[in-house]
């Protein structure tokens, strides 16, 4: 029990450290990469006085390290600065979008699971059959496509050509026209398709392994109907691997969310990040990256800890 707590603590400390590294990368990139960060942020029309005020305000006249510590202090006390474009507090801009992005990620994960798990199971339980070959080839083909191609393809087919679904999610929110639920369909479907290959592959491998296990053969030989064999023997074993799959798909989800939100104009954090980059709105960019990075690292940590809690072998030694 003590060992488990110590393991938890160690992983958590590493996670916090990783967060600090990410925040440092964000700050130093913003600070050191542009030739003149103040100019880059304020634009060509700003006066020298405005530039100077910006420099002092952001702590740019101090060294990079001092600036980083000052910025970190601001961040930890909740002072995230104001958007250079809209002059509103960054927190106000980003937090409502966080809920939307989270919702999209969850929906995407659900859609992806609904497609990937049955397909993967069918392919794995009948491994090396023609069905398996067909499904696996489809998965490889889907995996080869970059996320934005999948999203744009869905957009063009369903929204532009067939006109079944709305093109932009943002328009429904702002104009109040159209069924708001429909706005979620295409983004969730796109995101789901993005994560299907990885999930399906894992489910397939697990299903084919378990199907070959002796206790399954024994059950079949004993005369238990195939469906009952599947339900009571194969599926519980597969479920154990689900957490592992979750961790792998997390990375794909985070990348996918940024792309899908941009393609569909979905009002989430990812879209805010991309448009702020285009606008050189560095306070917003910094906040979004740190926010998303924090989410990613924390979720990974949670999955890690969950796996440790589930697997007694890991609990004892810390390794498999």
């Amino acid at each position: 029990m003590v060992r488990t707590t110590w393991l938890f603590a160690r992983r958590s400390i590493v996670a916090v450290f990783t967060l600090l590294v990410l925040s440092a990368v964000v700050y130093f990139a913003s600070r050191l990469l542009p030739a003149n960060p103040a100019r880059a942020a304020l634009g060509k029309t700003a006066s020298a006085a405005q530039v100077h005020r910006f420099i002092v305000q952001q702590g740019l006249d101090h060294s990079a390290l001092a600036g980083y510590l000052q910025w970190l202090g601001h961040v930890l006390t909740g002072n995230w600065g104001t958007s250079l474009l809209s002059q509103s507090p960054v927190v106000q801009l980003a937090l409502p979008r966080l809920l939307q992005t989270f919702l999209l990620a969850v929906l995407g994960f659900i859609v992806g699971s609904l497609i990937a798990i049955p397909l993967g199971y069918l392919a794995g339980a009948r491994a090396d059959s023609r069905l398996d070959l067909a499904i696996s080839s489809g998965i490889v083909g889907l995996a080869a496509l970059p996320e934005f191609v999948v999203a744009v393809a869905l957009l063009v087919i369903f929204a532009v050509e067939l006109r079944w679904l709305p093109v932009t999610s943002g328009a429904i929110e702002s104009t109040g026209y159209g069924n708001p639920l429909l706005a979620y369909v295409l983004p969730a479907a796109s995101l789901g398709l993005v994560v299907v290959p990885q999930m399906a592959r894992q489910v397939r491998i697990t299903a084919s392994e378990v199907a070959r296990e002796q206790y399954v053969s024994a059950a079949v030989l004993r005369g238990i109907a195939p469906r009952r064999v599947a339900l009571r023997y194969i599926i519980p074993a597969v479920a154990g691997r689900v957490v592992n799959v979750f961790t792998l798909t997390l990375a794909a989800l985070f990348t996918g969310v940024v792309v899908v939100e941009t393609v569909f104009g979905y009002p989430g954090v990812g879209q805010l990040l991309v448009t702020s980059i285009g606008n050189n709105d560095s306070p917003v960019v910094e906040f979004c990256v740190v926010l998303m990075g924090t989410g990613y690292i924390m979720l990974n940590l949670a999955a890690d800890l969950f796996v440790i809690a589930l697997n007694p072998r890991l609990r004892r030694t810390g390794v498999m």
Binding site: T18, A29, A144, P146, V156, F254, V274, M292, G293, I297
Partner: protein, 275 residues
């Protein structure tokens, strides 16, 4: 050592197909700008016109020949990521090789650093670096190198560590060979298979990552004929002239397919060789 591996890769159907695709893509990337009928930046036709003899894929919203732009855009899509991956190999591969073979406490420190670097989400790092540094090629190459180096470092280090413990290395050491000599003549050839697979996989990911960046508007800027950028622009006018979207999309998908098939075939070839 390389030709037998290549022969085995080509013996698989996916290897042959991927290799054939790769030849086609290489032709487009290297020779594209030379065989293109028009300059990718010049307005040579009526905007948004469909396919014709003068413009096989039609023209885009500014009247530029779509086919020429697709042929010219291959360079932007492929060269920078590949350069970035080579950089990642120099950075991660060399340090991984040394650390894995050497061992000891420096190796443990190195592993910890690499693990932390790996848990930082890649796209976010690239977005912030390229988003702030804009589309300077140096920034893009460096960003890609930094992001893929840890993954490569971990693989190479593992392989180097395994090779360092094997018998032929012990024999070489007993023969009195120096550390560098052992590293180059015994460890490196046996690590090369794994390294080749990782190279292929990383290149695939890096090319798609850069295409995604271009699409988001964070990487290449107009009027660059990068395929990702063309897809983003083409999406706006897909109803009027779908080929502006379909042309670069198909090219990109063929490229991704080629890389994926080859990576898969290479993986199989290396795995079977080690059995």
């Amino acid at each position: 050592m390389v030709p037998p591996l290549l022969r085995r890769v080509l013996s698989y159907r996916e290897g042959r197909f991927g290799f054939a695709l790769l030849i086609v893509i290489a032709f487009i990337v290297i020779g594209g700008p030379f065989i293109a009928p028009d300059s990718p930046f010049a307005t040579t036709g009526i905007p948004l016109s469909g396919p014709s003899l003068a413009h096989l894929l039609g023209t885009d919203e500014l009247g530029r020949d779509v086919l020429s732009r697709v042929l010219a855009g291959g360079r932007d899509v492929v060269l920078l990521p590949v350069a970035g991956i080579l950089g990642a190999f120099l950075l991660g591969g060399v340090t991984g090789l040394i650390s894995g073979y050497g061992g000891g406490w420096p190796d443990r420190v190195y592993t910890a650093v690499v693990n932390v670097a790996l848990s930082v989400p890649a796209l976010l790092v690239v977005l912030i670096l390229v988003g702030v540094g804009k589309d300077s090629p140096a920034v893009i190459v460096t960003a890609i190198a930094l992001v893929y180096a840890p993954g490569i470092a971990r693989i190479v280090r593992g392989a180097a560590q395994a090779a360092g413990r094997s018998e032929y290395v012990d024999v070489a050491r007993l023969r009195g060979e120096g550390v560098t000599s052992i590293a180059v003549r015994e460890v490196l050839p046996n690590v090369a298979g794994t390294v080749a697979v990782q190279l292929a996989l990383s290149c695939t990911q890096a090319v798609l990552l850069l295409a995604t960046l271009d699409f988001l508007g964070v990487g290449a800027q107009p009027p660059s004929p990068s395929w990702g950028l063309m897809i983003a622009d083409g999406e706006q006018i897909v109803v009027l002239q779908p080929l502006t979207l379909v042309g670069p999309a198909v090219a990109l998908m063929l490229l991704a397919l080629a890389f994926n098939l080859l990576s898969g075939a290479l993986q199989r070839a290396v795995a079977e060789r080690q059995r």
